[in-house]
């Protein structure tokens, strides 16, 4: 029952990332819609809720990609793990923690993605990826992190108010 809500929502996100957001960006970095949604959803709802979104969202992204099926799911699961951990409560206000988690999550996501690509026999350039994709991506997505966080908090409140559940 819950998947009837989760799958269409994540499908829309994957489609928009493929059609629109993959073509907008800075250098070779883009606003990674699915990464940000999974990261902030895990931040708001915890690791388990984020893991479900990470798994389904990753498979959907891979369907629209030429990459290996399952690779993005693995990378997003690590993002959900980092986003949903209760560590760092003492680091300061939510905003600071959000920025740190975004940077770490984004970094981890791309490292796992590159490892999967290397493991499946695709050529990988670590230097290029770091300088042209990952570092600009951390900055770009870090800028949007508060916006995504607010959206997820809003969605969370709305879901709780209506008694819905977007997890398994």
């Amino acid at each position: 029952m819950n998947l009837y809500l989760t799958v269409p929502l994540l499908t829309l996100i994957a489609v928009f990332q493929s059609v629109l957001f993959s073509q907008l960006g800075f250098q070779d970095a883009h606003v990674e819609l699915m990464v940000m949604v999974v990261l902030t959803w895990s931040f708001v709802r915890g690791m388990e809720a984020g893991a479900v979104w990470a798994f389904i969202g990753g498979l959907l992204i891979d369907l629209f990609s030429g990459g290996p099926l399952g690779g993005t799911s693995l990378a997003l699961l690590v993002v959900a793990f980092l986003g949903g951990l209760q560590w760092g409560r003492s680091l300061g206000p939510t905003f600071i923690r959000l920025i740190i988690v975004t940077a770490l999550g984004f970094l981890a996501y791309h490292i796992i993605l590159l490892l999967v690509l290397a493991w499946t026999g695709r050529p990988v350039s670590w230097g290029f990826s770091l300088s042209r994709v990952i570092l600009p991506g951390v900055l770009l997505n870090g800028l949007f992190a508060p916006l995504f966080h607010r959206l997820m908090v809003w969605l969370d409140r709305r879901i709780r108010r209506q008694g819905l559940n977007l997890s398994l």
């Binding site: 957001f21 970095a29 990459g67």
Partner: protein
């Protein structure tokens, strides 16, 4: 308050293991039927969304003069591309004629670039071969694939060459859905195309680089390579037609201690601005494992 049960705490780990298994089975080719079925479901959604996004974008271009100027610019660009391709093709013929004249009793009836004439980007070409609009780019920032809105129903098959702007090679079809197909661009890090220099006829292998540039490798050390040389497909291996334009040499990389020299190429196409592509459907590639990978099917008991 989020309730956590002991069963739930294993969920992320279980999903990670399942994801790992999916990855392994995908690489082994066991999931192809499932993926094809899913493409039937999700591809129309991508097409419709792409159309909506494009329509919405068009609404912002309401100033008539700007639109007219843009259309005129596109027409002129297209004409320049066509004439450039035609010019290079004629020079290619000239080089070939000189070669043939130098060989006694050599007769060749192989029609070089027979199906990549200058009119292939026009409407007539779209009647003859399926033309596809690019509807999606790869969400993975390390891969250079695009999705086009023609597929098996239009006669597209895996391994078919895809061109744009005349005789300029864009890439190859690697996955086909009912009404969409995924094209691996030349600039993808996993792409390799047998090529030659137009004038000197020196052969090499053009490979995509992880940063999206092109590099021609395995050029023999004793051959002369110059900046500005045009690079064409050589047709070697039989997976692509001969004579399609790949790019132009911008830098020669030669080290005395290496067996081969290499060249950095400027691609003939701007891969970030592809809009309409043409799939050459009457070219029959020599079947190889690379061109037509058949996923191993599990044996039924």
């Amino acid at each position: 308050m989020i309730r956590r049960s002991p069963r739930r705490s294993w969920l992320p780990l279980v999903l990670f293991i399942v994801g790992l298994l999916i990855l392994v089975f995908h690489e082994a080719g066991y999931l192809s039927p499932v993926e094809n079925a899913l493409h039937y479901v999700f591809d129309p959604l991508q097409r419709v969304t792409s159309g909506l996004v494009r329509s919405t974008g068009d609404m912002f271009h309401t100033v008539r003069e700007v639109r007219e100027l843009r259309a005129e610019l596109e027409t002129l660009r297209s004409r320049v591309d066509t004439l450039t391709a035609e010019n290079i093709r004629l020079q290619e013929y000239e080089a070939e004629v000189q070669q043939l004249r130098s060989l006694l009793n050599f007769v060749s009836d192989y029609p070089i670039s027979a199906f990549v004439g200058a009119d292939v980007v026009g409407r007539e070409a779209c009647d003859q071969f399926p033309c596809g609009d690019v509807v999606g780019a790869d969400p993975n920032p390390y891969l250079r694939y695009v999705t086009i809105n023609v597929g098996a129903q239009q006669g597209v098959e895996k391994g078919m060459p895809v061109v744009s702007g005349g005789a300029m090679l864009a890439g190859r079809v690697v996955q086909v859905g009912p009404r969409t197909a995924q094209v691996q661009l030349l600039s993808d890090g996993d792409s390799a195309v047998a090529s030659l220099l137009k004038l000197s006829r020196v052969t090499g292998l053009v490979v995509g680089q992880p940063d999206g540039t092109l590099r021609m490798e395995y050029i023999p050390q004793d051959e002369e390579v110059n900046e500005g040389d045009i690079v064409l497909t050589s047709g070697l291996g039989g997976v692509l037609p001969k004579g399609l334009i790949v790019g132009q040499v911008t830098e020669v990389q030669q080290m005395d201690y290496e067996l081969f020299q290499a060249a950095v190429l400027r691609p003939a196409l701007d891969f970030s601005r592809l809009e309409t592509l043409l799939v050459i459907t009457d070219f029959e590639p020599v079947p190889t494992d690379e061109a037509t990978p058949e996923p191993p099917m599990p044996e039924s008991e």
